[in-house]
């Protein structure tokens, strides 16, 4: 669809994001509740939410705080989780880099998994026309508002939720809901299995370094499996070629 005005594209972006909000709101609620249960003030919880604007990194940081990890470990772990934004940035750069900084800096801050997923294919197909960045900004701003408001709701619910509900189990469950759709190949399954098993075995490592070790181990396992599969594939195809030559 091509748009006549930037506003039209922006509004359509907002509308495109709305169906994704039921998957986002529970994460925001859990994040707000956890921050309050950690003993943070509402102001501090929201300051953290505004600065991070990354649900998985924030939940991880809260969990590590609870375990008494060092601040350095928390920063490194949160940034490792957010490394994926480098990929998103590289993939969107051809369509955003020509804009002035008063555009690129804010739209980079509001970059999220959801708006990336919605926009990447539409950008590359060129179907959005010259107001493509308005459409992207619509999805990204709507996502940002959904997230901030659901964390605020969690912050105000937080104090009224009894301990007996074991709501802290909602955190690993949220990660599970993110993890499962990420397993798309034997290589990503290998990465998950190796990362998870090392993390369980290395739980006694000081300062939660087990998590960083496990993450690196999982990534290496994923790369090795991908390589070995590629080799088998290329070997069979060269065999085919040789057979044809004979």
């Amino acid at each position: 669809m091509t748009y006549r005005t930037g506003t039209e594209a922006f509004v359509h972006g907002v509308r495109t994001l709305i169906p994704l909000t039921p998957g986002v709101i529970p994460f925001g609620l859990v994040t707000g509740v956890m921050a309050i249960e950690m003993g943070m003030s509402p102001g501090m919880s929201m300051g953290m939410t505004l600065l991070f604007y990354s649900g998985s990194a924030q939940l991880v940081a809260l969990q590590l705080l609870q375990n008494g990890a060092l601040p350095v470990t928390i920063v490194v772990t949160a940034l490792i989780i957010n490394l994926r934004f480098i990929m998103y940035s590289a993939s969107l750069a051809p369509y955003l880099h020509h804009l002035p900084r008063r555009w690129t800096w804010p739209v980079s801050y509001v970059l999220s998994d959801q708006s990336y997923a919605l926009c990447t294919l539409k950008f590359s197909s060129g179907e959005l026309g010259r107001f493509a960045h308005h459409f992207y900004a619509g999805t990204a701003v709507a996502m940002w508002l959904t997230w901030q408001l659901s964390v605020v709701a969690g912050v105000y619910l937080g104090a009224s939720i009894p301990q007996a509900w074991s709501l802290s189990f909602a955190v690993p469950l949220s990660f599970l809901a993110l993890l499962v759709p990420n397993i798309r190949s034997s290589a990503s399954l290998g990465a998950a299995v190796v990362g998870g098993v090392i993390a369980v075995l290395a739980i006694k490592m000081p300062y939660n370094l087990g998590l960083v070790t496990a993450s690196l181990g999982g990534v290496i396992a994923g790369l090795l499996i991908e390589n070995s599969r590629k080799k088998t594939l290329s070997r069979t195809s060269t065999d085919d070629v040789e057979r044809e030559v004979r």
Partner: protein
């Protein structure tokens, strides 16, 4: 941890994350992502998330002590199956919590 240390930690993560989001939009045409790095980045979410989920499920106290009557393990297995079948966050959370509460009621 003191409030000041917490704010310092939030700021460090916030600035680092912003730098990563902006990276290639700002540097477009001047730097290309190495092929090995971009392949490795694809495995970061699966690896990190599994490394977060498994210990949190296996050690309910968070201290690394294994306990045998741990209702979190069956609850997580059923929740993973729901996530696989439905891809829905809401259902995964709801079923996982319901199974955990069910086991706790049954045990008490």
């Amino acid at each position: 941890m003191s409030d000041l240390a917490l704010w310092g930690m939030f700021l460090a993560v916030g600035l680092g994350t912003f730098a990563m989001r902006l990276s290639f939009v700002e540097l477009y045409g001047r730097w290309r992502i190495p092929a090995l790095l971009s392949r490795a980045l694809a495995y970061v979410p699966a690896s990190v998330l599994a490394a977060l989920v498994l210990p949190a499920v296996v050690y309910p106290g968070g201290q690394g002590d294994f306990v045998f009557d741990n209702p979190q393990i069956p609850a997580a297995i059923i929740a993973a199956w729901v996530a696989w079948k439905t891809r829905s966050t809401v259902l995964t959370l709801a079923v996982g919590m319901a199974v955990l509460w069910g086991f706790k009621l049954f045990a008490s």
